[in-house]
Symmetry: C2
Subunit: 208 residues, 2 copies
């Protein structure tokens, strides 16, 4: 069975999103990243910005605090059936991802999609990473300077993604065994990463 | 700079050794696995069988006990300068691997070679893994049945490799970030794993 759905997990600044976009282009299938956030926003009534930070970067307890301080909790909270903000968003995010996967072939970047779709046999899970100096250069080039040193930004973002994945998937983020392919994009290159993924997605199971 | 040395770390039964042998064949370079054990045996006076178990499977405290009970500690111990058996073998193993790498292009399977050669820029580090059912089938097919259920054998071997790596390299065994490529051989297949490694080894740095 070919792998119709490709999930891409990635270290911040590694080029994982570019790889994902290129794979979607090559396979001629939809690419979900921001679109997923929009869908969750529609279903929950939360701000896109808030969901984006929550769903990927924040650890659950931080999101609760940040939403409370942002004056949240009035509108959307009424639908939450006693769940915390973070857990409520997680439940909706799972539903959105499962529905998107049911619609047909696609590429999904981030948001624990590998874990959420673990029961499906047609999913190829990829992890894209790169050494810190490479990512620091790339982050400054793409997003510009910020008050925080780029190495510090990477460390913070990775730490939050790791904590979020550990909390909801109860797995180690970046552990090879959770992915079919884990690639160092600084060495392999964005284009070759995409070609490798394409090749395996189209013709998996050569080892069986 | 091309990657002249390929190190392969692997889960037991995943096919990592077959991948390593095939890469060596394709690159037409020496393949070190058992040869490495022989060299350590020559330099230390220990049995090859003992070194093989020690260097890969046993956690350090177990090796000490097993060697003591096997009546070891008379001949080789005199050269050990107060090191434990495990630490002494580690020191020699590091020297042998560094010397082999200095000799020229090669493929080295196991024995923390990725960590031991971390200062060299011409090394490509690979991790080969596969899901437990695939490995269990493979182990029974290749090595036959044993008293222990194949799943239990896998678990034991992986646990020991993980502990050994953690102890000497102070890193997580199988964590994507420690390798340039991590591949699920059950999906990618032995031959395609070898081809991917060959491609990146010959022409790395496309992402730079």
């Amino acid at each position: 069975m070919s792998k119709q759905i490709v999930t891409i997990s990635r270290e911040f600044g590694s080029g994982g999103r570019s790889v994902g976009r290129r794979v979607a282009e090559l396979l001629d299938v939809p690419y979900y990243d921001k679109e997923l956030v929009k869908q969750v926003a529609v279903e929950t009534g939360f701000d896109e910005k808030f969901i984006e930070q929550e769903g990927e970067y924040a650890s659950p307890w931080q999101s609760l605090l940040s939403y409370a301080f942002a004056g949240g909790g009035s509108g959307p909270r009424q639908h939450m059936n006693g769940l915390s903000t973070a857990d409520f968003l997680w439940v909706i995010q799972c539903r959105v991802i499962l529905e998107l996967a049911d619609k047909g072939p696609c590429v999904i970047v981030g948001r624990c999609a590998d874990y959420i779709l673990r029961e499906r046999a047609d999913v190829l899970n990829v992890f894209i990473h790169a050494p810190i100096p490479h990512r620091a250069d790339r982050v400054v080039r793409l997003y510009g300077e910020s008050d925080l040193a780029p190495e510090k930004r990477l460390e913070e973002k990775d730490k939050r993604r790791r904590a979020y994945y550990k909390h909801y998937a109860d797995r180690e983020w970046g552990m090879s065994q959770n992915y079919h392919l884990s690639l160092d994009a600084s060495l392999v290159g964005i284009e070759r990463c995409a070609q490798m993924i394409l090749d395996v997605a189209r013709d998996p199971g050569q080892g069986q």
